[in-house]
């Protein structure tokens, strides 16, 4: 099935090297804009399953052993931006989306 790209926001809404939150179909999504990465933009769930709050968009971006991750601002667990995996606990996975930049537009789609 061809993926369904959804327009989320403009590039100008993103912050280089950090995250912002967006609402997509009632679900909170954390968008990261990392120009020096291959993917440029990433989208994962905003919900921190450890801290139990919608905060991942506000964490620090960390590049660890080749993985782009975000460190939760609450208890510092790392989530891989491209897969939603948690480096500290492999039973904890969070949702992630494919994301792309087309001109000024930021899109995401189900992986």
């Amino acid at each position: 099935m061809a993926s369904q790209w959804k327009l989320v926001c403009k590039q100008g809404d993103l912050i280089r090297g950090a995250g912002v939150a967006a609402m997509v179909d009632g679900q909170q999504v954390a968008l990261f804009y990392i120009p020096e990465s291959d993917d440029k933009v990433f989208a994962i769930g905003n919900w921190d399953p450890f801290g139990k709050a919608n905060v991942l968009s506000r964490g620090l971006v960390a590049h660890l052993q080749g993985n782009w991750t975000v460190a939760s601002p609450l208890y510092k667990q790392h989530f891989v931006l491209s897969s939603g995996e948690c480096l500290e606990d492999d039973t904890a996975r969070i949702p992630y989306w494919k994301a792309k930049l087309e001109g000024e537009d930021v899109y995401i789609s189900e992986p």
């Binding site: 993103l14 280089r16 709050a53 905060v55 506000r58 620090l60 971006v61």
Partner: protein
């Protein structure tokens, strides 16, 4: 089972009876010396399991399984041709015929025999001791039975208040039973502790809800009325309990020796010589069944030494002897530290005793020293074992005691000699007594390429027994590495192979102004949550630029990025600066009005200011606009920077005040409020020595004197409190500020990331005296630089909130969502004591149910 496998006639048969910890260690030792080539080795064990770690038996109740405790899975035996049989009780030795008889009727010839049969728990012959629901505590099977029983009952009692009894009591408690301990002797742990130590321990254990009966003899056990058993005591009282666990001492398992006519001690035990041979030169005995010099050794370490000696002798190495063992022990029982070294009871002739007792924090320490006060003979510790390692080393190595020997058991105070450095230990010093590893062994291991504690453990086995030597082992390994010039890695993270101090110098000298620039020139990769804020903080300390400047924004942790502390639900707190805790009624009203309007939870903080909690991201700039308009500045409660300067009213109002502490506090807070530092910094100023502002617990403490100000530095409250050190006395205002400038800048320049001044000071070589030389005498010739750096920070101060409010780009980042105006529906408050608080998970579900 068959023993008729053809054995080559020229290889003698070595049989080991007993596969406990010591029997297994013997097999390891003999294999290590090539004994499996010399002998046909056969091992018999009565238990269904191969050897397991009995020392950590209790962990069977806290999550470990039999496999975790196993000391071998049999591969070592298989790989080296050692035959082993579990579930095999040896019942007889025919010494004339040199054969063994097994319970199942089989028999087997031997040439050399090793008895490692251990011991069994002694159960006092109290009438009723064989009733159902009575147990002992020695094997995995015992523990299975105890666990099964505990599932169905509520009360458990241990008979015996020695080491093992208390460990068993802990286990019962962990199993959820109401627990009591009944001890016949007048005190707990009578073997290791003196009277006072025993009574302090009793107090601590009772504090943990374990009932302790000392001086109590049980006369009989009968049916209970409210519980399964009733224990009737000699004094006419009784105790009702459902489960009884006997732990009244151990007895050597010497039945075989007795039956075969080997020489034994009067009260049991198989008599051995220094080679661990029994009265029959072909039969050895090791471990808890062996009696050396009329003593039984109920610990694993002496058993291991015996195993080594016996294996050595069998292999023709006459140099390895067993010549007694140190029985010093340190333990955490029911969470209470207990330690006993050497002659704990002070029975040596002419000995002298120091005692320290603190009834408040429940600790007791005793040192027994030789008549001339030069050597340590013994010690007792209850409540705090941090003194143990040092005392043990003085004792084991007969090191001369320091001048003020009593300081070894006194709580750390100014000027007290530090704990014995590992440098002072002789090469022969025993570091790990379980595996008999000396300082020299460790140093050899390090020289041969074991460059971490883990490697050293692997090579020497040090630290893999009871684990009690772990801290000392680490110190020795680090010390050896240092001596070799090996760097113990202090890299800040995978992106920068530098310490924070290096980075500070690189940034300053290289005039580097951004993270990207630093990364490009001196790092690799793209940075992480460790190096980004650390570099952000250094850039701010050195250049003091606006923290939300575009290139810095990605360096800031949430709190710094949004200029507020994130709370558990993702909302933020707002803490405006209230210098010295002084606030006008008008400003107080503004805080009240804003809090009311935005429905913020309001609290007076421990730092003498007011915290407003529960602001959402988009509310932050709105609220701060109101506050900045009313003349407030950011309190930087989120930053690694100056927090508060606490103060008392001082001479302006207080009848005792000798100087104006209030004005000084306000001035200091205004001076240092912009400084970004390795960790947060707190000040306090008190108007007289009554010290109402608690200045001695702050990073910088100032106390007014008749002659000016006394300055204290590097105090800390928090997790590990430390009193500040008196740095200088009777200073005038100007000198006071000069010294504070320099101390703080020197700290900012040289400390590690997230290192408070207290920890920095503790690690500063030369300590307080050195800091004085740097700051007062300008020993490093850098005072001018420090002064200039601080002046720069003071001159370039800006309120981050004010700047942010004027910057539309920065304000954009406070949107909750980039594409939607709604709120985060996971942020839900409920009311408590007339204010809001975050709803719990449960409350949220209930609220949703109601709405739905």
């Amino acid at each position: 089972m068959t023993f008729n496998t053809p054995l080559s006639a020229n290889k003698p048969r070595l049989v080991v009876v007993g596969n406990g910890m010591v029997g297994h260690h013997f097999v390891e030792q003999i294999i290590a010396q090539g004994g499996h080539e010399t002998f046909h080795i056969t091992v018999f064990g009565e238990e269904p399991y191969l050897a397991y770690d009995r020392v950590h038996l209790s962990e069977y109740f806290t999550g470990k399984g039999a496999a975790d405790l196993a000391m071998t899975d049999g591969t070592l035996y298989d790989d080296n041709g050692v035959r082993y049989f579990t579930n095999s009780l040896v019942t007889e030795i025919d010494r004339k015929a040199k054969t063994l008889l097994l319970q199942n009727g089989d028999s087997l010839p031997y040439d050399k025999l090793v008895l490692a049969t251990g011991s069994y728990p002694f159960v006092p012959p109290i009438p009723g001791h064989k009733r159902d629901n009575t147990f002992v505590y020695r094997t995995l099977e015992d523990l299975d039975a105890i666990r099964d029983c505990a599932k169905t009952v509520t009360r458990g009692t241990v008979v015996g208040g020695g080491l093992l009894g208390l460990e068993a009591a802990n286990a019962l408690k962990n199993l959820g039973l109401e627990t009591s301990v009944v001890e016949f002797a007048p005190r707990l742990m009578p073997v290791q502790l003196d009277e006072k130590g025993g009574s302090v321990l009793k107090g601590m254990i009772e504090g943990l809800d374990v009932k302790v009966y000392t001086d109590t003899a049980t006369q009989e056990i009968v049916d209970g009325e409210r519980a399964f058993h009733r224990m009737n005591f000699a004094d006419g009282t009784h105790l009702e309990t459902d489960l009884i666990l006997f732990s009244a001492g151990i007895r050597p398992q010497d039945a075989l020796a007795k039956q075969s006519g080997l020489e034994m001690g009067e009260r049991g035990g198989i008599t051995i010589n220094n080679q661990c041979q029994t009265s029959d030169a072909d039969i050895y005995s090791i471990g808890e069944c062996a009696l050396w010099n009329n003593r039984i050794f109920g610990l694993v370490a002496p058993g291991y030494t015996m195993a080594k000696a016996a294996a050595g002798h069998l292999m023709g190495d006459a140099g390895l002897l067993f010549t007694g063992a140190d029985m010093s022990t340190k333990l955490k029982l029911l969470g209470c530290d207990v330690g006993s070294v050497g002659d704990a009871h002070g029975t040596s002739q002419g000995c002298k005793v120091f005692v320290y007792q603190d009834e408040l924090s429940q600790s007791y320490r005793k040192m027994v020293v030789s008549e001339d006060g030069k050597k340590l003979l013994g010690a007792v510790l209850v409540g705090d074992n941090s003194y143990y390692d040092t005392l043990l080393q003085y004792y084991l190595n007969a090191i001369d005691l320091p001048e003020q020997a009593q300081s070894l058991i006194l709580p750390a105070m100014d000027g007290a000699p530090a704990a014995l450095g590992v440098d002072a230990l002789p090469a022969t010093a025993s570091i790990c007594s379980c595996h008999n590893v000396s300082k020299q062994d460790i140093s050899d291991a390090v020289c041969n390429g074991a460059l971490s504690v883990g490697d050293v453990k692997g090579v020497t086995k040090a630290g893999t027994g009871c684990g009690g030597c772990a801290a000392l082992l680490k110190k020795v390994v680090d010390n050896e590495l240092l001596a070799l010039g090996v760097e113990v890695s202090t890299d800040i993270c995978e992106h920068f192979a530098y310490t924070r101090q290096d980075l500070y110098n690189i940034i300053k000298i290289g005039k580097i102004k951004s993270f990207d620039d630093l990364l490009e020139k001196h790092g690799k990769g793209h940075g992480c949550e460790i190096c980004k804020p650390a570099v952000g903080s250094i850039l701010a300390s050195v250049w003091n630029e606006y923290v939300l400047k575009k290139e810095h924004i990605i360096l800031q942790d949430t709190n710094d990025r949004f200029l507020g502390n994130m709370q558990k639900d993702g909302t933020y707190s707002i803490v405006p600066r209230i210098p010295g805790g002084e606030i006008t009624p008008e400003k107080l009203i503004v805080l009240g009005e804003v809090a009311k309007e935005y429905r913020l939870y309001t609290k007076v903080t421990g730092g003498q200011r007011i915290d407003l909690f529960g602001a959402t991201l988009p509310q932050l700039p709105e609220i701060w606009k109101r506050l900045v308009d009313a003349g407030f500045e950011t309190g930087q409660a989120y930053g690694k920077s100056l927090r508060t300067v606490k103060s008392c009213v001082g001479s302006t109002w207080c009848r005792y005040g000798v100087n104006d502490s209030m004005t000084m506090a306000v001035d200091l807070e205004n001076r240092y409020k912009g400084l970004r530092s390795p960790h947060k910094i707190k000040f306090a100023v008190s108007g007289c020595t009554r010290e109402c502002a608690e200045a001695q617990s702050k990073d910088i403490g100032v106390i007014a004197t008749e002659g000016g100000w006394n300055l204290y530095v590097c105090g800390n409250g928090g997790m590990k409190p430390r009193h500040g050190d008196l740095f200088a006395t009777d200073l005038d205002d100007e000198t006071l500020i000069k010294y504070i400038d320099r101390v703080l800048m020197f700290y900012t320049k040289t400390a590690d990331r997230l290192q408070r001044t207290s920890v920095w000071m503790d690690g500063l070589e030369g300590g307080l005296e050195y800091l004085k030389e740097v700051v007062i005498e300008d020993k490093l010739g850098m005072c001018e630089e420090l002064d200039a750096a601080m002046d720069y920070v003071v001159d370039t101060f800006q309120c981050e909130w004010k700047t942010t409010l004027e910057d539309p780009e920065a304000l954009k980042t406070f949107r909750q969502f980039v594409n939607y105006d709604g709120v985060d529906d996971n942020v839900v408050f409920v009311e408590e004591r007339a204010q809001i608080r975050p709803a719990t998970e449960k409350e949220k579900l209930e609220l949703i149910a109601k709405v739905g």
